[in-house]
Amino acid sequence: MKDCVVVINEENTPELTPDRIITQTRILKDEGFRFVTMSSTDLGDRICVLYHLDKDLQLINLKVEVPKGTKIPSICSVYASAVLIENEIKEHFGVEFDGLSLDFQGMLYLDEEVQKTPFCKIGINRV
């Protein structure tokens, strides 16, 4: 099946606990999946992070939901190219990632003029 549009529902998107994300992505990588990107949404008191992976135009999504302020392990060690997007999510949603290979310290896009994490409904103060 080749996907250009994937509607996300419970069947096609397994929800994972944060601690399993590294093992899971590593398994997928060994199967030949390419890392596409991550998306994230603010769910009020929780943050939902989606991992999109692709193999032969077939898209797989992994979902992680954590309460705000929880740390998520970084998958930089599995897919080095994830570092930019993890930094972006950190900057926009205030999610901390454990083990970032290059930490932009919230200054990837934003300067000190923007004082709250912009994409949360109630912004968190940025350091």
């Binding site: 250009c4 549009v5 390419r34 990107t37």
Partner: protein, 358 residues
């Protein structure tokens, strides 16, 4: 050994868009390149909270002016999936035509800028001269030169009539001839080859692992193109991705160059098969649910993640553009290259910072 530190950008004549690199060079060999982004970051995804889902079309078109129509298409595709709308067939074909026109103008633009990056000014002028023909077509068909605003949820807003069709096909012939004349220059010229062959080699494995997209990926020998998924009318057209194997700047140039011709063929085929039907269907209801939508932009795979909660306003619009995926491979290529090749390498991924940072 003494080293020079060079601030490269944001305002730099060879960079079409602001981006900062702190380059450390030694004898003009780049030893270290640290990027700094954020000069174009507007935060437009956030505008979804104050603009309704139809107005967002105009906004996502302006993520980047170069593939505006593809952004709109990708977005609309997602919304249509959420609202269960089936796009009428003529609209699908028209979307392909505009998309391929966009690809042509984007690639011609890139070829010109790329020529400029290695100091070939007359080639730059020549490509841009040809490109103007396509700009005229876009203006005539859609009313706007750059932001070709034709997509809407459920179809397209404008039609292409028979007279226009003839004009487009004629122009395609001229463009094909003129671009073909430049083929030997861009592919065989000694000086051009010196500046591209063997520069910035990205192996197949590396390209795949770093998550490269579009021509950057295909030039490394991986035949992956979102158009294979058959969105819009691609499933009904004869389509094979253009692949090169060397993974250097030259391969990427050839890849994009050939895609121009591929685009011409696709436009011809689309016109040949263009069915009659209405242009758009009315979408009812409000978007609800989460969806991931993907299309192939000139620079590669573009991904939209949309989340609606049943209100007029979308809960989240997330855009991942090809350049975002291509920046890690770029940073991989830079160390070890000649300072003079830095612009060549930066341009070789066809960077589009505005879509990277949104």
């Amino acid at each position: 050994m003494a080293r020079t530190v060079i601030p490269f950008g944001p305002q730099h004549p060879v960079l079409p868009e602001p981006l900062h690199l702190t380059l450390t060079v030694e004898d003009e060999i780049v030893k270290e390149a640290i990027p700094k982004l954020g000069y174009v970051h507007r935060g437009l995804e956030k505008l979804a909270e104050i603009r309704d889902h139809t107005q967002m079309i105009q906004i996502v078109e302006r993520v980047c002016g170069i593939c505006s129509t593809l952004h709109a298409m990708c977005y609309c595709q997602g919304i249509e999936a959420l609202m269960n709308v089936e796009v009428p067939p003529r609209a699908k074909f028209l979307r392909v035509i505009w998309a391929e026109m966009h690809r042509m103008h984007s690639h011609l633009l890139w070829l010109g800028l790329f020529a400029d990056a290695f100091g070939f000014e007359s080639l730059f002028m020549q490509f841009w001269r040809i490109r103007e023909r396509i700009m005229d077509l876009q203006e005539a068909t859609s009313g706007n030169r750059v932001i070709v605003s034709v997509n809407c949820v459920g179809g397209v807003k404008r039609d292409i009539d028979a007279e226009m069709e003839k004009w487009i096909l004629d122009t395609m012939k001229i463009v094909e001839r003129e671009v073909l004349q430049l083929k030997s220059t861009i592919m065989d010229d000694f000086t051009v080859k010196r500046r591209t062959v063997g520069i910035g080699v990205l192996s197949k494995e590396k390209a795949y692992e770093m998550g490269a997209a579009g021509p950057t990926l295909r030039a490394s020998g991986i035949a992956q193109d979102m158009r294979q998924t058959g969105y819009a009318a691609y499933s009904e057209l004869n389509f094979e991705p253009v692949v090169e194997t060397d993974g250097d700047c030259y391969a990427r140039t050839v890849c994009r160059f050939n895609e121009v011709f591929q685009a011409i063929d696709l436009i011809r085929e689309a016109f040949a098969k263009l069915p009659q039907s209405e242009l758009a269907v009315k979408a009812k209801g409000l978007p609800n649910g989460e969806v991931v939508s993907r299309v192939e932009q000139p620079r590669g795979e573009c991904l939209y993640y949309l989340k609606g909660t049943g209100s007029k306003y979308l809960d989240r619009v997330r855009i991942r553009t090809p350049t975002f995926a291509n920046i890690p491979p770029l940073l991989e290529m830079l160390p070890g290259c000649d300072l003079a090749d830095v612009p060549v390498l930066i341009l070789t991924i066809d960077p589009c910072i505005s879509c990277t940072e949104r």
